[in-house]
């Protein structure tokens, strides 16, 4: 049995005929060709394959591609805009949140999930958000600093937007 699915990935629409047993991570890497999402443990424990599905971080090795039918997926490839790194990507670069880089796409996606909900997360909240993502190189401290950097950067940019749009004094 094959199923036709329609998925929007990083703003672009795709239609494919796939086997129902195909995992979302294999669909992204092997069918769509987006290999930025990594396969780590394949058992749902390491978080390397984390992507956003309909606005929430999920492990793409624990989702069937057919479950994403009609949905919206965002992967690491969809973060940078116009050659400009996303603030979370920039944070990992500036704060050296990367060593071998294998866990990085998953770490960045789970950080995006956190920062979309918590504008100024505490260290405890960051640690809790990273609970499902394993890094075997850096010891996590730089990753936490990278996310703090991104939170500051996002806060500054939203303050800029407010500054330029609010001409009139508040009543």
């Amino acid at each position: 049995m094959k199923k036709t699915i329609h998925v929007t990935i990083n703003g672009r629409e795709y239609e494919h005929e796939i086997e129902p047993r195909l995992l979302l991570v294999h669909y992204l890497r092997e069918v769509v060709g987006l290999t930025g999402t990594h396969i780590g443990c394949e058992t749902g424990l390491c978080g390397a394959c984390t992507v956003m599905l309909d606005g929430r971080a999920v492990k793409s090795c624990l989702v069937l591609a057919v479950q994403a039918d009609g949905g919206e997926v965002r992967t690491i490839e969809g973060l940078a805009e116009g050659g400009q790194l996303h603030p979370v990507q920039e944070g990992f670069w500036v704060k050296h949140g990367v060593q071998c880089g294998y866990c990085t796409p998953g770490m960045i996606m789970v950080a995006c999930d956190l920062l979309e909900r918590r504008k100024a997360p505490t260290v405890e909240e960051i640690r809790r958000a990273l609970d499902g993502n394993v890094c075997r190189c850096t010891g996590y401290q730089h990753i936490i600093e990278a996310i703090q950097y991104a939170a500051g950067k996002l806060k500054a940019s939203s303050a800029d937007e407010r500054g330029t749009s609010s001409g009139a004094p508040e009543a």
Partner: protein, 287 residues
């Protein structure tokens, strides 16, 4: 790791889903959030010929207060239970338990109904619904029926669901001003599953005497269970530290703790006592 091939159905109604389960019987598996089923499929511990995905049925994900109960749709995700104002206000124990499940990615996908129907001996929600004295609505070929949480868990990954039945709703009595609750857990480091998890819900009178109590334990035996021996020590008593310690000693009484690579039977029994003591102390410290 790739699951063995299966046919996939995404029914639009519970009735359609029930009909599919009737048609394919033992060859079919129900897919809710998939956070437990997919690992089983990938390891080929489960090789169903048919997967019936409940994810396309509208109206199975909701939380609402209905009189003296909070009603939660079976497809409600853990994250939604954790964040829900209704659950936080009216059944804190469920929100507190949801917050400890797996990690954020698992909570974003996993569902309360899936967790209960899967009946993993180390799942968190089974302990919480036992302590909350929830009732579970199931729909099958013969219509709907209600099962008390205590009667729902039968054995390892085995529930009181009959063939062709689907769990659709969880109903929990609302907290009163006298309710105190807590969930205390020791996690298996990699998976986040409970090596032991203890949920307690107490009803106290003005003098902090225990007027009602339910204790649910998971991770210790083949299935989550009500720790009746603990409850008997607490009921009617003023909950002093001495009473709490004495009650917690009975947390694994009458249970045969599991033994595996994660923990010995003796350690699991020890954790049951420790987690019960901590959960009771935390519930009492609530206010």
């Amino acid at each position: 790791m790739i699951p063995s091939a299966f046919d996939y159905y995404a029914p639009k109604t519970v009735a359609e889903a029930v009909a599919l389960l009737q048609q394919y019987g033992e060859e079919a598996k129900v897919l809710a959030g998939g956070q437990s089923l997919l690992p089983l499929l990938k390891l080929r511990l489960a090789t169903p010929r048919v997967v019936v995905d409940l994810g396309r049925i509208p109206d199975l994900a909701y939380i609402r207060q209905d009189g003296n109960e909070v009603a939660i749709g079976a497809m409600t995700r853990h994250e939604t239970v954790e964040q829900s104002e209704v659950v936080r206000r009216h059944c804190r124990l469920l929100a507190a338990t949801a917050a400890t499940i797996g990690d954020v990615q698992v909570r974003n996908r996993g569902t309360i109904g899936g967790s209960l129907a899967h009946a993993d001996p180390a799942g968190d929600f089974p302990a919480a619904v036992l302590a909350a004295e929830a009732r579970l609505k199931v729909v099958g070929p013969g219509g709907e029926r209600w099962i008390a949480a205590e009667d729902f868990f039968v054995d390892v990954m085995t529930t009181a669901l009959d063939a062709g039945e689907i769990l659709t709703e969880i109903r929990v009595p609302v907290d009163s001003a006298h309710t105190r609750s807590a969930y205390e857990k020791v996690r298996q480091k990699a998976s986040g599953f409970a090596l032991c998890g203890v949920a307690v819900r107490l009803q106290l009178d003005e003098n902090r005497r225990c007027q009602g109590v339910a204790v649910g334990v998971t991770g210790v035996g083949a299935k989550a269970y009500r720790a009746r021996a603990v409850e008997e020590v607490l009921r009617g008593e003023a909950l002093t530290e001495t009473v709490v310690v004495a009650a917690a000693e009975k947390a694994a009484q009458g249970v045969e703790p599991s033994e595996d690579a994660q923990a010995s039977a003796a350690y699991r029994a020890h954790l049951a006592r420790v987690c019960t003591r901590r959960a009771l102390r935390r519930a009492l410290a609530e206010g």
